[in-house]
């Protein structure tokens, strides 16, 4: 048995007759027993990767093995080792929560008695016992997501694919789900997690690969990525573009990576936020410039992309808060 739960080399998959290169030669080694993060915006190839590894799609070229089994040659062996859950929460709306889990258990060829016991156990653990006998179309978004994850866990697979499991969830549900994932990994499960959130990857993943347009643009531990990037973004807002241009000359050496200037705003990526902020203020003050605003924030996926590729993510990457607010409104 290998130490890697997933190994793939030069995976290529295109769509629309080759016009879209969803995966363009990606190689991965996912060590067993930890969370491995695939970070990237919409359309970067994360979901295509998960679909290939879970035998839903076939790659055009390249190889992939799951626990030593080739996903193209022995998909039936791979399917017995994996669980799949994601942002689309694919549950059968006309069935109850219990019936959904029972169906998945049966289709995993488990014994009926075991399926029933395991389904009840999972419903209990995911706080769905009270709703167990209600059709899932009456479930809230968060409940569906939990049931979807429960369905992926019915057969207790040693490898779990989680495709943007917290996209669209409110902060509390997100925290809960993170707890669940950490628990699973403690029990020996390997998790391949895709996410658009740097925070999520940072919290859960031991190792990360950053994808952009189907290509790996960075890999390493979250600490390594952040060291490359700085841990804090210092945003300085000036009154005019001329002021911003003068200010940029004064503070640019404080940034770990080349600072980003956009109109009247300058963004510096730094390690020690408050100290650098104080230093920047002194320099600006000494030059008799005034600031319109100053903010310190965590780097986002956008910052990672700017740093790594020099371009912003093509998609508008929604923050958790944006989506939560939209959900609350609707």
């Amino acid at each position: 048995m290998t130490d890697f739960a997933v190994q793939c080399e030069n995976l290529v998959r295109t769509f629309r007759e080759g016009q879209v290169r969803a995966l363009d030669g990606v190689s991965l080694n996912v060590p067993s027993g930890q969370v491995f993060g695939l970070l990237g915006p919409n359309g970067s190839g994360k979901t295509t990767m998960v679909r290939i590894l879970s035998t839903i799609l076939k790659p055009e070229s390249g190889t992939a093995t799951v626990m030593g089994h080739d996903v193209v040659r022995h998909p039936e062996r791979v399917r017995r080792l994996i669980g799949l859950a994601g942002q689309y929460a694919t549950v059968d709306e006309s069935l109850t929560g219990f019936e959904n889990l029972r169906m998945i258990g049966k289709l995993n060829h488990m014994e009926s008695a075991v399926v029933v016991r395991r389904s009840r156990e999972l419903l209990e653990q995911f706080g769905l016992s009270d709703a167990a006998n209600r059709p899932t179309k009456t479930y809230s978004g968060g409940m569906r997501r939990r049931l979807d994850l429960a369905a992926a866990l019915v057969a207790q697979p040693p490898l779990l694919f989680l495709d943007e499991p917290t996209t669209g969830l409110d902060p509390q549900s997100r925290q809960d789900l993170w707890g669940v994932i950490e628990n699973l990994v403690e029990g020996g499960t390997t998790v391949l997690l895709t996410t658009q959130y740097l925070e999520e990857a940072d919290r859960l993943a031991k190792q990360l690969v950053v994808l952009d347009h189907g290509k790996t643009i960075a890999e390493g531990t979250p600490a390594e990525l952040k060291a490359q990037l700085g841990t804090t973004v210092l945003a300085l807002t000036f009154n005019t573009q001329e002021d911003a241009a003068r200010g940029l000359e004064l503070v640019k050496e404080l940034s770990n990576v080349p600072p980003i200037a956009d109109g009247t705003i300058i963004e510096l990526t730094v390690n020690s936020g408050p100290a650098v902020a104080a230093d920047a203020l002194r320099r600006i003050d000494a030059d008799h410039l005034t600031l319109a605003g100053l903010a310190l924030r965590e780097p986002s996926l956008d910052d990672v992309f700017l740093t790594l590729t020099g371009h912003k993510t093509d998609d508008v990457v929604e923050t958790a808060t944006d989506e939560h607010q939209r959900k609350a409104r609707s």
Binding site: T90, Q125, F126
Partner: protein, 276 residues
């Protein structure tokens, strides 16, 4: 949500058990699991139950009491005896639309993707769906027969011919299920799936001998209406149930069904393999 003890479940892992030699047993078991799911969906969703049962009953009442008096039947057989076997065939055709819509919905929602990542038999998704259709059609057969008898239908052909007629109808309906499954897999969404079936089922059900004798239709239409498979099936079912001569319509219907199955089942299976 409790996060304790999730990883260390008390239930032993049994799903990775050896499957050697029992793949046919699992294929049957998976097909029945999917069929059960689809039956539950029909029963749970009120509109689909209406579609499956209430609508044909309305058709019976409409044609029996509203239109029936104006329709002249050949050989002077009562119109109700002409109508009920026709309604049976029509209901199975309309019911098959549900297969197209259901599969398109499963695709849209990502359920087919989930099934594909499971160690279940490949064929079970389509197999289970068509088996569910088959069971629904048996229910339709029973309900329409009972309602028919209540409104004056007198199947005078005897029990064995009635059973033979039912089998011919069920076989025809089963072959149709595969065709509608194909449409469901090819449609981009469930609304389109429904729209795609319309231009198909309309001429097949109405330019046929289901509701009216084809003899009153204009010549060009008669040529189509007389020979198309729905009419052949309706003629065979009607003749057997009411004890009238059926000519070779039973054999023609069976031949159509087998030919359709031989073409449509592989077509739908191929579409299922390529659908994602």
């Amino acid at each position: 949500m409790s996060t304790d003890n999730l990883a260390t479940s008390k239930t032993p892992v049994t799903s990775l058990a050896d499957h050697g030699g029992s793949s046919i047993r699992w294929a049957i078991s998976d097909t029945l699991t999917i069929a059960q799911r689809n039956i539950l969906a029909i029963v749970r969703i009120p509109t689909s139950l209406v579609f499956a049962l209430l609508q044909p009953v309305m058709f019976v009442l409409l044609f029996r009491y509203v239109f029936g008096g104006a329709i002249h039947t050949p050989n002077g057989i009562p119109y109700v005896d002409f109508l009920i076997p026709g309604i049976l065939v029509q209901t199975t055709i309309f019911g098959a639309v549900g297969t197209a819509i259901g599969l398109a919905e499963d695709l849209q929602r990502g359920l087919i993707e989930r099934f594909r990542a499971l160690p279940m038999a490949r064929m079970a998704v389509l197999g289970g769906r068509t088996v569910a259709d088959f069971l629904r059609n048996i229910l339709v057969l029973i309900v329409i027969t009972v309602v028919g008898i209540a409104v004056g239908f007198r199947p005078s052909g005897g029990v064995l011919p009635y059973v033979a007629a039912s089998l011919i109808m069920l076989l025809f309906a089963y072959s149709l299920s595969w065709g509608f499954a194909y449409i469901g897999l090819k449609a981009p969404n469930s609304e389109t799936a429904q729209a795609m079936t319309f231009p198909l089922i309309f001429p097949l059900t109405f330019a046929s001998s289901i509701f009216v004798p084809v003899e009153t239709m204009p010549g060009w239409l008669q040529a189509f209406a007389k020979n198309q498979p729905v009419s052949q099936t309706a003629d065979a079912v009607r003749g057997l149930m009411t004890g009238q001569p059926i000519g070779n319509s039973a054999w023609v219907s069976i031949a159509w069904s087998i030919a359709a199955l031989a073409i449509l089942a592989p077509l739908a299976t191929r579409a299922y393999r390529r659908v994602i």
